[in-house]
């Protein structure tokens, strides 16, 4: 079929939607929302790709996956080969297919989307990546990358989120002896404490982790480097190089009155209780409680805010609100997350901002005092600045409030390691080519460098760092890094 179609005909094929759980059903369970393509659906969607000679999508991908290469193979039904193509650039495709902001990356610049002047008409690259990864998982569950003979070099990775897992995989493949240190009891970082099951099933993270274990990577949980022991201790234990991938786990609060009332959560705490600690199951199969609000107000407009608002529904909320100070157009969340939240009944209170949380006599949240906003001139972020409208204050009754306005880089390790230089926001300064930090034999990547960014950017940085670490282990030479100004 593929040979016969002209480019024009391909442009006319409508996108293949991915089947999903019905909103009314899924908002009361924690299972994954999109159900995945069948082989036929994937092959049909792959027909839409023009297999551009100079594919803009590859440039749009932070790790430059050979997108036409793998989609061409999907079109021919060669799914295992397609998986191999993706894995040359991306070790964690099952995750990226699910959580990447494709509409800001590969799908944004897709020629098909340009032809329709609508990003929603793009080839569903994310869906296809996910399909290929899941297909491989189902048919070749033990497929893990071979590793070169042991080199005897010891590398420590701090943090087991997207950056740490990627760096570990790349270095283990080269035969280095890799040990990951994780502060929590379960590896995965934000993939297990932050992103909910209904968006990224834990089984997928667990599989990637078990692949690393098969490659000989050691994972030590329950150790917070910077508190439990230091980077200096790791060097004393014989590690020759250290990669820091400790992420952006420091919750930001608004700094308004009432944020310490009972029933007010950081998004991190709310999602960690629900997600990592399974508070959905309290008191039967989990001992970790969570306040199940009837009226939940979430501050923020990013993916985490959507995750929290949708989690609230799954915990039985009657009303779940997103309170965002700009308009929907400025929301940083993925389009898909915004759509999913709306379908499930999350209500969007736009151009409104919380100015105070009001409590009852016992110290519990009772209502949120808000003010209406108008959009002014664009600010440094390029988005139009929200300006409060005087005299427009009003209140919303609420029994749980979740603050999801962002995270900053995790300060634990940096505070304990003065040699590692950071910028004013606490992000580690690195050489953009090599990811070396100011401290010899220490590299960093992911959100600890970027601030709160994306899984795929974290992985891209981790790969760069792994290449530089490998070179260092081979030559033993630490070249002076080129650090940006603080």
């Amino acid at each position: 079929m593929s040979e016969k179609l002209s480019q024009k005909e391909r442009l006319k094929i409508p996108p293949v939607p991915m089947p999903e759980q019905d909103p009314e059903v899924r908002k009361r369970n924690i299972k994954e929302v999109p159900l995945g393509y069948t082989e036929e659906m994937a092959m049909a969607e792959a027909e839409r790709c023009l297999l551009c000679k100079k594919p803009p999508c590859v440039k749009g991908c932070p790790v430059e996956i050979d997108i036409p290469g793998f989609i061409g193979l999907v079109r021919e039904g060669k799914f295992h080969e397609a998986a191999k193509v993706i894995k040359q650039s991306n070790l964690l495709p099952a995750m990226c297919g699910r959580v990447c902001p494709q509409e800001d990356q590969c799908e944004l610049v897709c020629t098909v989307a340009k032809g329709h002047k609508d990003v929603r008409m793009s080839v569903k690259i994310g869906n296809l990546e996910r399909f290929v990864a899941d297909w491989e998982m189902a048919h070749f569950p033990d497929s893990h990358l071979d590793r070169l003979p042991p080199t005897g070099h010891k590398v420590a990775i701090i943090g087991s989120g997207p950056a740490g897992l990627t760096a570990a995989g790349d270095l283990a493949r080269l035969g280095h002896e890799v040990t990951i240190f994780e502060a929590l009891h379960r590896p995965g970082g934000v993939l297990v404490y932050g992103i909910p099951e209904f968006r990224l099933p834990k089984a997928i993270v667990d599989r990637e982790v078990s692949n690393l274990l098969k490659m000989g990577v050691k994972i030590v949980c329950n150790v917070a480097i910077g508190k439990s022991k230091s980077i200096y201790d790791l060097f004393r234990e014989g590690f020759e190089a250290i990669f820091v991938g400790t992420g952006a786990g420091l919750p930001v609060f608004k700094g308004i009155k009432g944020e310490n009332l009972l029933g007010v959560y950081s998004a991190n705490e709310y999602l960690t209780r629900a997600n990592l600690m399974n508070a959905y199951e309290f008191p039967h199969r989990s001992d970790t409680p969570i306040i199940r609000g009837k009226r939940v107000v979430v501050f923020g407009g990013g993916n985490t805010a959507m995750d929290a608002a949708r989690t609230a529904l799954r915990l039985g909320a009657e009303k779940s609100y997103i309170l965002y100070r700009r308009s929907e157009k400025e929301m940083p969340a993925r389009l898909g997350e915004i759509e999913h939240a709306k379908e499930e009944g999350v209500e969007f209170l736009l151009l409104q901002d919380a100015i105070e949380i009001i409590g009852d006599s016992e110290g519990w949240v009772k209502e949120v005092k808000c003010i209406k906003m108008a959009l002014g001139e664009p600010d440094e972020s390029g988005r139009r600045r929200p300006i409060p409208i005087p005299g427009s204050e009003f209140t919303i009754p609420a029994d749980v409030v979740v603050v999801a306005i962002g995270n900053r880089s995790n300060p634990l390790l940096v505070k304990a390691t003065p040699e590692i230089r950071t910028n004013r926001r606490g992000n580690i300064l690195v050489d953009p080519e090599t990811m070396q930090t100011s401290m010899p034999r220490v590299w960093a990547g992911g959100d600890i460098v970027l601030g709160a960014a994306t899984v795929i950017l974290a992985m891209g940085q981790a790969r760069k760092a792994a290449r530089s670490i490998a070179k260092f282990l081979e030559t033993g030479v630490w070249t002076q890094p080129n650090l940006p100004p603080a």
């Binding site: 439990s228 991190n268 705490e269 600690m277 199969r285």
Partner: protein, 290 residues
Amino acid sequence: MGHKILSNENIAPSVFRMVVEAPEVAKYKKPGQFVIVRPTENGERIPLTTLMEDRNRGLITLIYQVVGRTTAGMALMEPGDELCDVAGPLGQPTHIEYFGKVVAIGGGIGIAPLYPIIQGMKEKGNYIISILGARSKHLLILEDEIRRESDEVIIVTDDGSYGEKGFVTDALRKLIEKGVKPDMVIAIGPAIMMKMVAEITRPYNIKTLASLNTIMVDGTGMCGSCRVTVGNETKFVCVDGPEFDAHLVDFDEMMKRLSAYKKHEEESFVAFYKENKEKLLRKNVEVRRV
């Protein structure tokens, strides 16, 4: 990869001393730091005190009081069983140096985290006056250990069954009124006790530290569950503390926050208690609420 339990001994009604394998914690733990324990697969993460680390054998000693489902479950564990996770050491170590005269005040289970701090302070040559309080004689823990490290020990019980009758705050007030001028006071115990201690020392401008026992989840500064207001700033007890200047801590807010899951805890504890009543009674677990 669990942590093997070597002993789990009842030392006072509802209070247990558990010796468990945790070589990394034993090696790195400093006074003032704590661990987060997740006893079972479905378990909650709870902050606990460790003391008397044995570096050579890789052992730590946890002292805990049965206050809910999770600690009740721990009370029923036997030597040979394993704790699923012991994370740490976490938190800021106590700043230990020579201050001069240090008054160390421990109330109830708070005596346990106080003990390693007293040891550290004694090593630096401080003169230690320990004030230990309990509801009743049989609830007093670690008396012998603390006597060994202290220059003076004052014991008070609520019911007068041992030492002086009254509260630790009465003993502290008497001490100061008698003319003793502490260079530093450290108080660890129930929030209300620490608040009262701070009120007594405030007019005298005596440097006073309190070690806060807030609710935690990750214990690494990630969730903010443990946040407290200290001098009008929000601080995370797990990474900025657990010790803070007691004169700056908003104890009223902290006490409210400690009650966040009271109903949940009661619900899950009552269910567990009903199932395990006989066993818990045999282990000397006192139940006041059920």
